[in-house]
Amino acid sequence: MPLELRINWIKCDAHGMCAELFPELIALDEWGYPILDPRPIPPELEAHARRAVAACPTCALALERVPRRPR
């Protein structure tokens, strides 16, 4: 099952560290809130995703294994 980033928007406080650490799939909007690339995380980038999750000051970012969505 692929890994996906999830954001708890209530917790997110626009610190922006996730985008610093994982720019491959996270960008910031003009207020500093993250915009997630909807693609599943490629295995070679998983370590970077984990670093971004660990760095989130408000624990708003999580990594979840999601079952493939039915088409």
Partner: protein, 252 residues
């Protein structure tokens, strides 16, 4: 072979290690407070992004715990004064300068609480973690008082310079923290600034007659047998042949 771990008489290696790790831990805690304020102020530049400051804050705090562990273990192993592991964790129960050593135990306990809640932040929850993290502002001044109250190097220029430099850094950091986000929660900010002024002023009044004054070793509660064995009544390191040889008689 000389005895590098200082079972011989005279100042043991443990005692040198205790003093040095203690002063390094104070500097690490100072750095951690300063980095923490930069972190919460969301200070960042292109070259120094936020995750670097945040990472440095986490790393210096963890490093401080490591140095404090060595500081405590060597203080316990040093047989000149009897300090037990319990004295290092439970405040105010020891026989050697109980109050001032106890402050060190309080500061260590607070730091351990800060680090553990930070490591387990995901389970503790952000709110509880943040509330606990305010203890950092209690931990640092208590650690400084422990340094000044028990430190045998306080009267030397270098240690005084380190202590005052650390104090200056933290005062600037607290002022910066109080100003970031002004004027929401004004009461708390004014209390922080007032607390910083009172602490610094109190130190200025206390230091000259306390640790820098006469007979501090007796007044701070050093046991009589430890006082008697040092002619100057402070534990001044007298470089004696047996301990100096540990360093000087190594083959080049």
């Amino acid at each position: 072979m000389s005895d590098p771990l200082g079972v011989t008489v005279g100042p043991s290696v443990y005692w040198y290690v205790t003093r040095s790790t203690g002063s390094v831990a104070l500097m690490l805690l100072t750095a951690s407070v300063a980095l923490g304020v930069l972190d919460v102020g969301r200070i960042a530049t292109k070259r120094v992004p936020r995750f670097l400051i945040d990472g440095a804050h986490r790393s210096t705090s963890l490093l401080a715990v490591v140095f404090l562990a060595v500081h405590i273990v060597t203080a316990v192993l040093d047989t000149f004064v009897s300090i037990t592991l319990i004295d290092a964790v439970v405040p105010f129960v020891g026989s050697y300068r109980p109050f001032w050593l106890g402050l060190g135990a309080v500061a260590f306990d607070l730091l351990v609480a800060l680090v553990l809640t930070s490591i387990a932040r995901r389970f503790v929850g952000h709110r509880t973690w943040r509330a606990t993290h305010w203890l950092a502002y209690a931990c640092w001044p208590i650690a400084l008082l422990h340094t000044l109250g028990t430190g045998s190097d306080v009267k030397s220029t270098w240690m005084l310079a380190i202590s005052l430099a650390c104090l200056a850094v933290v005062l600037v950091a607290v002022c910066a923290r109080a100003i970031v986000g002004w004027p929401s929660r004004l009461g708390l900010r004014l209390a922080a600034l007032g607390g910083a002024v009172v602490f610094a002023g109190g130190l200025a009044l206390w230091l000259p007659q306390g640790p820098l004054g006469h007979d501090w070793a007796e007044r701070s509660g050093t046991p009589a047998q430890a006082l008697g064995s040092s002619p100057s009544k402070e534990r001044v390191p007298v470089p004696r042949q047996d301990s100096a040889s540990v360093y000087s008689k190594r083959p080049a």
